[in-house]
Subunit: 362 residues, 2 copies
Amino acid sequence: MSPRGNRAETAGARMATIADVATRAGVSTATVSRVLNGNYPVARATRERVEDAVVALGYSANAHARALASADTRTVGIIINDMVDPFFSYAARGVEMEAARQGRLCIVATAHGDAERELHLIDQLREQRADAVIVVGGAYDDATARAKMAERARALARVGSVLVLCGRPPLGSDVPTKTVGYDNEGGAFALTEHLIAQGHRRILYLGGPPGLSTSVSRLAGYRRALRARGIDPVDELIHEGAFGRRFGHRAMSEILTGDLDYTAVFAANDLVAAGALQALTDAGVRVPDDVSLVGYDDIPQSYELSPRLTTVHVPLEEMGQEAVRLALGDGDVFGRSGSDDERIVGTYVVMRDSVAPPAAAR
Amino acid sequence: MSPRGNRAETAGARMATIADVATRAGVSTATVSRVLNGNYPVARATRERVEDAVVALGYSANAHARALASADTRTVGIIINDMVDPFFSYAARGVEMEAARQGRLCIVATAHGDAERELHLIDQLREQRADAVIVVGGAYDDATARAKMAERARALARVGSVLVLCGRPPLGSDVPTKTVGYDNEGGAFALTEHLIAQGHRRILYLGGPPGLSTSVSRLAGYRRALRARGIDPVDELIHEGAFGRRFGHRAMSEILTGDLDYTAVFAANDLVAAGALQALTDAGVRVPDDVSLVGYDDIPQSYELSPRLTTVHVPLEEMGQEAVRLALGDGDVFGRSGSDDERIVGTYVVMRDSVAPPAAAR
DNA sequence: TTGAAAGCGCTAACAA
DNA sequence: TTGTTAGCGCTTTCAA
């Protein structure tokens, strides 16, 4: 008997291997491999015999044996914060669909904002020898975190994989990563400018986990736009916290109970804006008549709010798609297309119905 | 030289294998394997030497070699229609989180409603030897489709995996599958009854792809409830189509241009309801004052609509979690907990603000 | 408590 | 166009 029983024996009939197919077709395993992969010429008659044997035996190639014997695994890993957050699920959709287009499978894991867990997941994905590991979303960008991440990037490179940072600052040119990003600072600047152009001068900034790179950049853009127009950003108008709808609702509600003075709200993302909008509406504050409101990301829901939300469009799905292209190429016979290490996707302000001049200016 | 270069050689330094660790620690590979897996006693001193070697070498076990040599892959596959549809992303979240809790990775693939693609994905997941393959969502339940799916179920069983049908009718007790479901017919019945109890008699039924098991059941519940109250379901009030927001909007808009008579709308899911609500609102029809509206699934967005939507709560995330538990157990040392093949999760009507008695009755 | 060694199922170099 | 065969890196039986 063999040294151990494998799972299929447990399940009943032994499952067919390439050797069984070879025997039944009267050829060698090498030939079977060739027809399966279609990478070497095989005589028509031979091929047909092999194909028949495959069907007759219900043969299913073992991807692990294949991965072990060859170079790549036809698998990509993606790490997101949450499966149901539109920011992440749209990015994941881009990754999954592009991977699928290339015949690759997609392992998706969630870190829920926990940096340690993110590192652990990268390790797990490295064990899987995923052809690429794509990490989506902002990061807490301190030296320690960067060092740990850089170490993971090198470890991945050592096993022939590649770390792709998606919507997160690069780690430095000495670290083997690819990155696809977009300009948070610039987008926030443009959005704030739009508000200022409408006449707003006291703009409440709401949301984003303090220290998270995405928050930091958006807040920086907000500040720079104010200064550029000679307005001094004041701390009492800046309320960081989180990226969720719940935070938006709670923070806005609290602020509404006070006597803070502002004519517009810059929510750090659309979810926060949605929460804030609900608080505003519940309090009888009309948007945009009484206060203007903007969001960020342009998730589809932002179009469905009433009023439809003015926001910055971020091509989340395209980001995901670009991430796998950058790492793995087009998947075509000519191999990897661009050999650059960084890609920037474009964003733009989309003006809808949640912004108007402040009441005093009308 | 070895017959071929592997990927790591391409990438530079050869990556460390278990043999390297063994050499450096001065033990056999068997011992290294033992400390890595912690499944056999190893002397403390030996263990420490091995652990040091692992760190020093930056060793990362090759999951494929492991999968090849042992029984399970610590991987589960899930097939959904779309990454960003809340119905599916919540189910996927349940699967991913439970899998993660068990230390398993989750391969997620999308079929976009294409039955052939779904079968193909099952085949791919079988090649991966996923410990379980979970298929989420309704199916077109004809004999051919059932036969093909049954064949996949058997093929999976042959490689020691298991097919889990989630929110889809069982294939019959002779087919090796597990299923976790919920009562669509009963939920639709209860929801329709609620509408009737409010005084509605002409209830528009909107949405759901005709023939899809989920649609079929919901429509059946709607019809049965009407008949139970002596109301004859009439075809002119039944408009099937799709499960998306866009369909809801378009269909409702069209109907609004006609002179169809109804006092309530039963949308086949919340997305359809959201689309319909927008059409209604845009047309100046007030919900629930002019017409009542209900949805199905209770996705979080349905709480955020105004008015908040009355709907049937379906525990999507729990369904996903139950699917992996049913297939793989709790992941604890005592092995699989329940050995049943089917689990039903409970649903209930959640009454919010989108239903009122018809105007005529007030 | 440890080691030797036989596979797991496949690919690809080499030879024919 | 095809076959032979040496691995890929790990687990597990068996023996010590």
